[in-house]
């Protein structure tokens, strides 16, 4: 937090030598809150609030349980856009993976360890809690635990400014890479979740890879042959829609299909990854808003979701702190700093929950989405508070 230098003479209220030795006085709660709002920004709306804090409650307000402006019928229509948005997020993670994996394997291992520990902590706590308390669920216990564990593993480090200090830059890269392992696990998990599809399970786990490679090949062939920017944008959006549509048709994870496609565009020679990234930049923010508003509108209050919230919050925090502590052995950063930045779950947690809602039975899917939506907003608020506090203590 930047503190303006007091240049007044001590005779007129400025600091004397004793004041300087004691340091600046602790801010009042109001000053502290205002300083949070001034020091960082997101979307340019409310300086320090991340999109999840704004748009999740907004979606709940506009949804069927609120004002009803987003009706159930509209939500069912939005499922299409949500699927495509999930594929787009998968593409972004895949592009980040493709760029980092060549020269940051150590970082990737550290990020995967961090996410694996969080998944394990939240999944184990959820399974134990649900089994012990007799939580009524209409899905296999492992599916519920894994869905919450994978949603909890997501980090966005939205509270970190990569240019502010080295640990923030490392945290941002860890947050980019720690989504890869959960997406891979989600691909396998969705093949295991019981469904009406009678096909062999191993084929379902390979289908996202095959579909992603096919879509990557299609994009690699057509993107650079576009004769104008508008035509190229149509190709990009069409290919992304194809990724979402293929995933929906095959009943596999659109995140996984997008991840493989994004990885292909980064690995293959050419500018496909940069083309996609440039065009996605235009739709990235609307898609994030769409996902968050949709998740908020789909939020269904339930006692079971409230019960799951406590173990989810506690063990996500424990998982992130422990994961950061383990990852710090691979990285030259402070574990506590890294954990503070990784607290923010970002939109990917909501994306995981929306993805699992599409495959889980309705009651359990709504339970997962409601728990993750509330926890995401809570963690984003927590991250707003914890990072400046953390930095201020470090400076002392």
């Amino acid at each position: 937090m930047a503190v303006p230098r007091d240049i007044r003479r001590r005779e007129i209220g400025g600091q004397d030598p004793l004041d300087r030795r004691l340091g600046p006085p602790p801010p009042t709660p109001l000053v502290w809150l205002l300083s949070l709002l001034r020091t960082r920004s997101a979307l340019g709306l409310a300086p320090s609030l991340t999109p999840a804090v704004i748009f999740l409650p907004l979606g709940a307000l506009l949804g069927p349980l609120g004002l009803g402006l987003i009706s159930t019928r509209i939500l069912s229509r939005l499922d299409v856009a949500v699927t495509i948005a999930l594929a787009v997020i998968g593409v972004m993670v895949g592009i980040a993976l493709g760029r980092e994996i060549r020269h940051a394997q150590r970082l990737f291992i550290a990020a995967s360890l961090e996410s694996l520990i969080t998944i394990g902590a939240v999944a184990a706590a959820t399974a134990y809690f649900a089994a012990t308390t007799g939580l009524p669920i209409d899905a296999p216990l492992a599916a519920l635990a894994l869905a919450l564990g994978l949603s909890a593993s997501a980090s966005s480090a939205t509270s970190a400014d990569p240019d502010s200090e080295p640990v923030a830059a490392v945290a941002t890269r860890v947050a980019d890479l720690d989504d890869v392992l959960p997406i891979a696990i989600a691909v396998v998990a969705m093949a295991i979740v019981p469904s009406a599809d009678p096909g062999p399970r191993w084929i379902l786990s390979l289908l996202p890879i095959a579909a992603g490679i096919a879509i990557g090949a299609i994009g690699g062939l057509v993107f650079e042959r576009a004769e104008s920017g508008a035509e190229r944008a149509v190709f990009v959006l069409g290919t992304l829609s194809l990724a979402g549509g293929a995933a929906a048709y095959l009943h596999v994870s659109p995140l996984g299909v997008g991840l493989v496609a994004g990885l292909c565009w980064t690995i293959v020679p050419g500018r496909a990854d940069r083309i996609v990234q440039d065009d996605l930049r235009r739709v990235q923010h609307p898609l994030v808003v769409l996902l968050l508003v949709t998740a908020g509108a789909m939020w269904t209050p339930s006692i079971a979701a409230v019960w799951l919230l406590t173990p989810y919050l506690l063990f996500r925090l424990a998982g992130k702190v422990t994961g950061a502590w383990v990852s710090a052995w691979f990285l030259d950063v402070s574990a506590s700093d890294l954990a503070a930045y990784l607290i923010s779950p970002g939109v990917l947690a909501v994306a995981f929950a929306l993805n699992f809602r599409q495959v889980l039975p309705p009651a359990t899917g709504d339970m997962v989405l409601s728990t993750v939506a509330i926890a995401t907003a809570a963690f984003e608020l927590f991250a707003v508070a914890v990072v400046p506090h953390w930095r201020r203590e470090d400076r002392r």
Binding site: D79, V80, I303, P311
Partner: protein, 275 residues
């Protein structure tokens, strides 16, 4: 701080242990509670992500059409119970003086309808029903307001009935299809104990052939059409096509105009078409 570098990992390890210990302790505490029992409600499964955009299946449209048609045509229908015609009792033989007396006959069982047939109203109070050979209208003795037989047309295999008036005020006599040419989905109305029911059936090639019993052409649809004898045939728009009856060559449909001209006129007393 000379040992600040060594202190920091120690502090972070303590932080990790503290956070994990608190989390586990709270989890153990919460796990002592039981989730309040609640009845799980059955809800419809979540539709697929693209179900909203996909065109609705034709079968769904068909089902909706049939359901709407059921509501539309029900006032023009009536389900009547049929029973087998009782056979003549055996002629008693005069007992000889040496023969022992025959045992007493058991009492006659109560009249229980063995099948149900659906009648179409050609007038608000007059209906026509296919009457299979060997069957008759089951009338409960002493019960007023039920269907009454007006005439039995043995050669045609149908009977005209006096029916109680429909419960609602909607027009009971449906519009008729003048000439059914086949190759169309139709609604086949059959009877159940609880009322008429409908199902869609596709009828392909049909032949209009003269029928001496009716004095007018009937529509032959063959044996494998899936239409039982006695069923009523409606177009999907609610117009009445005709009544299915058993003929030598299979099932034939007596066209609605023919039924109307024969029975409506007979019931009004202006014609004597009943044979």
């Amino acid at each position: 701080m000379a040992n600040g570098i060594e202190e920091r990992p120690g502090r972070e390890t303590r932080l990790v242990v503290l956070v994990v210990a608190v989390s586990v302790a709270v989890l153990m505490l919460l796990a002592r509670f039981r989730f309040p029992p609640a009845n799980l409600t059955t809800v419809a499964p979540t539709p697929g992500p693209f179900a909203g955009l996909a065109a609705r299946a034709t079968f769904d449209d068909m089902a909706a059409t049939i359901a709407a048609l059921m509501t539309k045509i029900t006032p023009g229908l009536a389900v009547v119970p049929l029973v087998p015609v009782p056979t003549d009792p055996p002629v008693p033989v005069k007992p000889s003086a040496k023969a022992p007396a025959p045992p007493a006959l058991p009492p006659a069982p109560p009249v229980v309808p063995s099948i149900f047939a659906v009648a179409v109203r050609v007038r608000p109070d007059v209906g026509v029903v296919a009457m299979p050979a060997g069957m008759q209208l089951a009338t409960e003795p002493g019960v007023a307001g039920g269907p009454e037989l007006i005439a039995l047309e043995t050669a045609r295999g149908v009977a005209s009935l006096r029916l109680p008036p429909p419960s609602d005020t909607s027009p009971a006599v449906p519009d008729a299809v003048d000439r059914f040419s086949g190759f169309a989905y139709v609604a086949v109305v059959t009877a159940t104990a609880n009322g008429p029911t409908l199902r869609p059936v596709f009828i392909g090639r049909v032949d209009h052939s003269p029928d001496a019993a009716w004095g007018a052409p009937t529509v032959q649809i063959g044996r494998d059409s899936g239409v039982p004898s006695g069923a009523l045939i409606y177009a999907l728009d609610g117009r009445f096509i005709g009544l299915a009856i058993e003929r030598t060559g299979g099932i034939s449909i007596v066209p609605a105009p023919t039924l109307d001209s024969v029975f409506a006129a007979a019931a009004s007393g202006s014609g004597g078409a009943a044979r």
